[in-house]
């Protein structure tokens, strides 16, 4: 199970808290997912109300506050400081958006904010792209977790660049890696885990499903399946068939018109 900044978490699934039909359904989804961490936005989408924060705390799992909706270094740093006070945690999921249509991470601002926050004692979970140079800069800035995207937030497109995500895994074998955003289906989540990622963060795929509770359970099962598959050392794909039973020496059925 993943360890983020010396804290062991009992599940590889981080689940977001926005966009559910009701807080009651959100709580049921968290239960069904057995999620290890709840992410919460301090700004718009997840909400900043005390009532809602009380509901999040009531989930009784570690909270990872995020800076969703921030567009600049300064905004993100201020939001992180508020989050630290409100949730009494040094954890911050750092998210700085360049463009509202793609919700693409502003990786330049991200590196700068990650350094400021790490120097200030924060434990930063940066939402980044799968670019190796950016990931390296973030580690240099003090990040001990990386959260590359699978696809744009809320798009449900799965892992757009499997090669890139595999490269990040290979280049940072000792850094916990979480695929954050873009997951639409359990198979996407399983694939991330099969690549050897330590966790998956998702929200929309569960919250906006017709039955969020059932989808939460499906995601939990898929993540567990992917995690086990990676540990089991999967076979390599190959171009030619490789029969699971030897054919040499078998009775030559079918020759001579047995039918």
């Amino acid at each position: 199970m993943p360890v983020y900044y010396d804290t062991q978490i009992d599940s590889a699934l981080m689940l977001g808290t926005a966009q559910y039909p009701s807080p009651a359904i959100m709580a049921q989804a968290f239960h069904a997912a057995q999620a290890g961490i709840a992410t919460v936005s301090l700004r718009r989408e997840g909400g900043a109300g005390q009532d809602f924060h009380k509901l999040i705390k009531g989930l009784n799992i570690p909270v990872l506050p995020n800076t969703a909706g921030c567009h600049s270094v300064r905004e993100a740093v201020t939001t992180a400081q508020m989050a630290r006070e409100l949730f009494e945690t040094p954890w911050i999921k750092l998210e700085i958006i360049r463009d509202d249509d793609t919700l693409c991470p502003d990786v330049v601002a991200l590196v700068e904010a990650a350094r400021i926050l790490s120097d200030d004692g924060f434990q930063v979970f940066p939402y980044c792209t799968e670019d190796l140079s950016v990931c390296g800069r973030l580690v240099d800035a003090g990040c001990r977790v990386l959260m590359p995207w699978g696809a744009p937030i809320g798009s449900g497109r799965g892992l757009n660049n499997v090669y890139g995500l595999r490269s990040v895994r290979a280049h940072f074998p000792d850094i916990p890696l979480v695929v954050d955003a873009g997951i639409g289906l359990p198979s996407h989540a399983a694939q991330a885990m099969e690549l050897g990622y330590d966790g998956v963060l998702l929200n929309t795929a569960v919250a906006k499903a017709g039955d969020p509770v059932a989808m939460a359970r499906a995601m939990a099962l898929a993540i567990e399946a992917g995690r086990l598959a990676h540990q089991a050392t999967p076979i390599e794909a190959r171009d030619m068939a490789a029969p699971s039973t030897p054919v040499f020496g078998m009775a030559a059925l079918g020759q001579g018109g047995m039918a």
Binding site: E45, G47, G49, G210
Partner: protein, 325 residues
């Protein structure tokens, strides 16, 4: 029947008063404002009677309890406009339309020609839509004032102060939060525009992954545009961001809104329980009727009926919640 006092002259309080009066119980109503007005979140509601569209995110019971709401309001003398709901999405957000269709019922699919036939001014702007022919809307402020007037005709005035007597029905919405710890506020922001150049004849919803919008006509070129859904608790004013986003979305729906005059920017807290469903809750001699969430006009008639049934026959309502915190 013992004496009954209703606290709050918003949609919940007035609907209960109306339903009780029709059954021969004459309640007192206390509201410090003395009349329906902007202190109640129902004053800023959209007034959509759209049980099928709400099924996108609401539990099936909302559809069941809301189906008769239009008839109830009409029976109280309120003008109910029964022209259905048109649901649209820009072509790049088609997936939103597919999702909405999958999660709701009683709609028909429209192509560009079908949309233009219903709303000629939207011709050429949208290629696909959904039409919910049986849905309706009303003007919330007119509806509340009609209830108030009808009660006044029967001698029931809204008192601005006084001590509640007998059984107290607390229908104060979010203001009852001091007594209902699991009640929360879901913030909604709305705008009222005057735009005679725009002629939309029915409620239009524009789907968008971040900024879903609805436009409800109020007649005379006036439109209500709403509404955000933010888990941010109490009352605040409209943020610049919400205003900009809603106006952008309105402009995307119909460019004529660019020339609109902004008559009003409003924000309030919808009272909601954790499951976003309403309920009655008895505490001693107080009966709380609350948690209408975003379904004030849709569910107030059903909750008022349950309240009246409970008081007249002792019948336990479907949404009675006897738990004690």
């Amino acid at each position: 029947m013992t004496e009954t006092t209703i606290l709050g002259a918003g949609v919940m309080g007035l609907a209960i008063a109306t339903e009780l009066t029709s059954r021969g119980i004459r309640p007192r109503i206390i509201d410090p404002a003395g009349k329906p007005g902007s202190h109640a979140c129902s004053w800023r509601a959209g007034g959509m009677l759209a049980p099928y569209c709400e099924g996108e995110s609401a539990e099936p019971v909302v559809l069941r309890l809301g189906r008769d709401a239009a008839d109830w309001w009409q029976a109280q003398g309120t003008e109910v406009i029964r022209r259905g709901t048109l649901v649209l999405a820009p072509s790049r957000d088609r997936a939103e339309l597919d999702r909405f269709a999958r999660l709701t019922e009683s709609h028909s699919a429209l192509d560009a020609a079908g949309i233009a036939e219903l709303e000629p001014e939207l011709e050429g702007r949208f290629s696909r839509g959904l039409f919910y022919a049986t849905e309706a809307h009303l003007n919330p402020r007119a509806a509340l004032l009609t209830l108030r007037d009808r009660l006044a005709e029967q001698g029931i005035q809204i008192e601005t102060e006084g001590t509640p007597s007998g059984l107290v029905i607390d229908a104060r919405g979010y203001a009852a939060r001091d007594q209902l710890p699991d009640l929360r506020g879901v913030r909604g922001e709305m705008l009222v525009l005057r735009c005679p150049e725009v002629n939309l004849t029915r409620t239009v919803r524009l789907l968008h992954p971040r900024i879903p919008l609805y436009v409800v006509g109020r007649g005379d070129g006036i439109y209500m545009i709403g509404a955000t859904m933010l888990e941010t608790g109490g009352k605040y004013r409209v943020t610049a961001r919400s205003a900009v986003e809603m106006l952008n979305a309105a402009y995307a729906l119909h460019p004529g809104f660019a020339e609109a005059e902004i008559l009003e920017l409003g924000s309030d807290a919808r009272p909601a329980f954790p499951d976003n469903l309403p309920r009655l809750r008895r505490r001693g001699s107080t009966l709380f009727a609350n948690g209408l969430y975003r379904h004030g006009y849709l569910l107030a008639p059903a909750l008022a009926r349950m309240t009246a049934d409970y008081l007249t026959t002792g019948k336990k309502p479907e949404f009675m919640d006897e738990d004690h915190p």
